[in-house]
């Protein structure tokens, strides 16, 4: 029973840790399906994390914080859109620039506002997203197996966690069941087909980049006001890149993205829970455990997942031609 509880706790933190990955991964999915590669997920999340924490700390309202985070992320998205859609620049360079911009700006502004060494003040009640307890969670927790699963694993997360996981079927539905989804997928595969069909390539791509911005904003806000209580320097810690790896792992499909993010979340949860694993005399050091999600990222990006075919027009600015 003890090991079962441990398992439930690990899975519980898996869900929490997978949430920002999943939001960022779906954000990237919208953008890349429309043909705009976005390695600036990291920067957008970081910027959103800072502004959500800062606004939440100043106003005491976590919702205003969330809005500020989304707005900050959207500004960076607009920048990326301007560079890569309107001015047909290199999408990778624009993404790198956004990451640098976010890493520098967040700390600079934080220091200027709060004088706490580049962090925001810790957030207290009202400034954070509180866990939502499902009805009867308390009562049912005594029931074997189902009880802990319901009260620990499913219940007791903040609203953004549920939003993230609901975004999976929602994204699938939008992508494969709506006109917008059809056009979005088409513009990532062959923008000329969309253009000659009389639909605006630029409009679709901006829409995709905007959705990406909103989701990254939520992801960042969750990091600073849900998972943790405030902003610290570089708090995204490469999550944007792990989300990109998950996206490739999932081959740009929503449900697969969820499983990929849960896998990365699980690795992070295991690393957090078992700081030093003793394998019959050989102790695996904590650093190795912490590095595990990043190592897996490298392995996946190195092509371990088999052939992942990205959207065909991805990374290419659309130039009208005969």
């Amino acid at each position: 029973m003890d090991s079962f509880l441990t398992l439930i706790q690990v899975l519980d933190s898996t869900v929490r840790l997978a949430t920002p990955l999943l939001l960022a991964c779906l954000a990237g999915l919208y953008s890349e399906r429309a043909g705009i590669f976005d390695i600036g997920l990291e920067g957008k999340m970081l910027m959103a994390a800072f502004f959500s924490a800062a606004v939440a700390a100043v106003t005491g309202s976590v919702w205003l914080g969330l809005l500020a985070g989304i707005a900050a992320s959207l500004v960076l998205s607009a920048l990326h859109g301007l560079a890569s859609i309107t001015f047909r620049g290199n999408q990778l360079i624009s993404g790198v620039a956004i990451n640098f911009l976010a890493a520098g700006l967040t700390v600079l502004i934080a220091q200027d506002w709060f004088q706490q060494g580049g962090r925001t003040p810790s957030l207290f009640a009202g400034g954070r997203f509180e866990p939502i307890t499902f009805p009867f969670a308390e009562t049912l927790s005594g029931v074997p197996i189902i009880g802990p699963i319901y009260s620990e694993l499913l219940s007791g997360h903040s609203i953004l966690v549920y939003v993230a996981f609901l975004m999976v079927p929602a994204t699938w539905w939008v992508l494969f069941r709506t006109r917008f989804g059809l056009r979005l997928r088409a513009v990532g595969e062959n923008p000329a087909a969309v253009d000659t069909a009389g639909v605006s390539v630029v409009g679709l791509r901006y829409a995709a980049v905007a959705i990406c911005g909103v989701l990254c904003g939520i992801a960042g806000a969750y990091l600073a006001t849900g998972l943790q209580a405030g902003f610290v320097k570089d708090m995204t810690a490469g999550r944007g890149f792990i989300a990109l790896a998950a996206l490739i792992f999932a081959k740009w499909r929503p449900w697969h993205a969820m499983w990929a993010c849960l896998l990365f979340g699980l690795l992070q949860a295991v690393a957090l829970r078992f700081q030093n694993i003793d394998l019959g005399g050989i102790v695996i050091p904590v650093q190795a455990m912490d590095a595990l999600p990043y190592i897996l990222t490298v392995v996946i990006l190195a092509g371990f997942v088999g052939k992942a075919i990205p959207p065909k027009a991805g990374g290419e600015p659309y130039i009208k031609e005969r």
């Binding site: 494969f176 069941r177 709506t178 006109r179 917008f180 989804g181 059809l182 056009r183 997928r185 088409a186 595969e189 062959n190 000329a192 087909a193 969309v194 253009d195 000659t196 069909a197 009389g198 639909v199 065909k312 009208k320 005969r322």
Partner: protein, 509 residues
């Protein structure tokens, strides 16, 4: 006098200093097929792009069905009842046929009702025009002929009354092209107006009611097809008399240069593409390989050119060639006197972003004449390029232009100049005139025949039967990796070769 379906009045369009269209006026009667013919770069595509809202004309008016119409974008063109089938299809490859047809013409936010409606309408369109497609197949699962039908259906689904086809037969086999023309006939019978853009005279003569000729951005003539002939049209297109037939003396074949015995080639996915062929090419003759694309001709050329491994025996001047491993690459082949004009010049023959003079060096970049110590002697290379450009009349005569800035014909001239000027014993030529305009075709054909007359061996692969007939001294037909038979051009006809190409064996096969 009926109201014209389309009337263009004084259309002009310039790209920077280049005047692509100069004061063009044209009137197309409804329910007819109107051909627009001209060499590559004559401005045909620009004109049609203006009509489809891709470009905005600097000057001029567009009248549709007697009404002055503004066409600022493709949406407006579609609304005006104009549909366009581009030379390079605008299809999403991993979508189904149905999804491609619906894309951009959906009825609401949700897909399911749109798809259901399109499926029903598609059935009607199929019945009406005999345009059969499987709506649930993905585009990358169907052939180019079928893809083209999807493009036509896309236009019809959008209620197009005017259909523009830009070089529609460029990617089709002769049989597929014939099928396309039957479809166009049918569409005309139903009252649609069709504009057919092409540089192939045969298509104009076969399919159109009237024809307009364009040269260097200007409309030089509009005539009734029945009242003209290919020679006259060719002259109007090029601006001088053009020889449509290749002038050549009978071949005097000498000793065997290339001997192929039981050659087998397996492609990367493990499919055997060449299934044991025997073939000899002698000095001073052109052997043409006819066949529908994809029957092993490309693989044969690639093995000979050192681009792909094979098994069997190939002797060059009596010396066996390595068919795999070291010594089987293109460098080794060139050292053995084999020059290669590959089938796809843009992918295999040239690097499109490199200067012409750099492209002239490829394959021969180790030539001592281009070396100075450990460095390339670029000055010598450029001087050599200038000489070749002049001799082969490459236009514009500027070695500093990137390969992509030349027209198809001039690109091909650069490749042919590079290979022929090496004075090879054997020249491999794949599709030498694909996407090449008449003037350049005439020139390239002359060069190939001249090389033959110097006593060189030439192996020609082409899907254009006309080209095979006019160049070859001997014709071998390939089908499904086998050589179905060899014929002499004056002892056979298109019908017999067509049967061999379809795998129906002749008595001497």
């Amino acid at each position: 006098m009926t109201v014209p379906a389309i009337e263009l009045k004084g259309i002009s369009k310039a790209f920077g200093p280049v005047q692509a269209n100069k004061d063009i006026s044209i009137s197309v009667a409804p329910g007819t097929i109107h051909g627009i013919i001209g060499e590559n770069g004559a401005g045909k595509s620009t004109l049609m792009s203006i009509l489809y809202g891709f470009y905005k004309a600097d000057k001029g008016e567009i009248w549709i069905n007697g009404k002055k119409t503004d066409i600022p974008d493709s949406q407006a063109a579609i609304a005006a009842g104009i549909g366009m089938v581009f030379q390079h299809f605008k299809l999403v490859e991993n979508f189904t046929v149905l999804e491609n047809i619906v894309l951009g013409a959906e009825d609401g936010g949700l897909l399911a009702p749109s798809l259901a409606k399109a499926r029903k309408e598609l059935k009607d369109l199929e019945q009406e025009y005999e345009l059969f497609v499987d709506p649930d197949k993905r585009i990358d699962e169907i052939g180019v002929g079928m893809q083209q039908r999807v493009e036509i259906l896309k236009a019809l689904y959008r209620k197009a009354e005017i259909l523009i086809l830009d070089e529609p037969t460029g990617v089709l086999t002769p049989a597929e092209a014939d099928q396309l023309f039957r479809i166009l006939d049918r569409l005309r019978a139903e009252g649609k107006t069709i504009i057919l853009i092409t540089h192939k005279l045969r298509e104009i003569m076969e399919a159109t009611d009237t024809v307009s000729v364009m040269r260097r951005g200007q409309m030089t003539a509009t005539v009734k097809t029945a009242e003209t002939n290919p020679e006259e049209l060719a002259e109007l297109m090029v601006g001088r008399k053009v020889l449509l037939r290749v002038d050549k003396v009978p071949a005097k074949p000498g000793k065997p240069i290339l001997e192929i015995e039981n050659l087998r080639v397996t492609d990367s996915s493990g499919v055997e593409r060449v299934k044991g062929i025997d073939l000899t090419v002698r000095a001073g003759e052109i052997v043409g390989i006819a066949g529908v694309a994809g029957n092993g001709q490309s693989e044969l050329l690639e093995v000979l050119g050192g681009m792909r491994p094979g098994s069997g025996t190939i002797r060059m001047n009596g010396v066996p060639l390595a068919l795999s491993g070291p010594g089987s690459d293109g460098q080794a082949r060139r050292a053995q006197g084999i020059a290669h004009v590959p089938e796809d010049r843009q992918r295999e023959g040239l690097i499109m972003d490199f200067h012409a003079w750099e492209n002239v060096a490829f394959g021969y970049h180790r030539d001592p004449a281009y070396q100075r110590g450990i460095f390339m002697d670029n000055a010598a290379l450029r001087a050599d390029t200038e000489r070749k450009i002049e001799k082969f009349d490459v236009r514009p005569p500027n070695g500093w232009l990137s390969a992509k800035n030349f027209s198809g014909g001039n690109q091909q001239k650069i490749v042919v100049a590079r290979e022929i000027e090496r004075n090879p014993d054997l020249l491999l030529v794949g599709q030498p005139t694909r996407g090449v305009d008449i003037g350049a075709i005439e020139f390239i054909h002359k060069q190939i025949v001249a090389l033959r007359d110097q006593g060189k061996a030439i192996l020609l692969v082409s899907v254009e039967l006309e080209e095979i007939f006019s160049l070859s001294d001997r014709i071998a037909v390939m089908f499904d990796g086998h050589i179905m038979g060899e014929r002499l051009p004056h002892e056979t006809d298109e019908k017999e070769l067509g049967l061999l190409m379809a795998g129906v064996a002749g008595e001497a096969a």
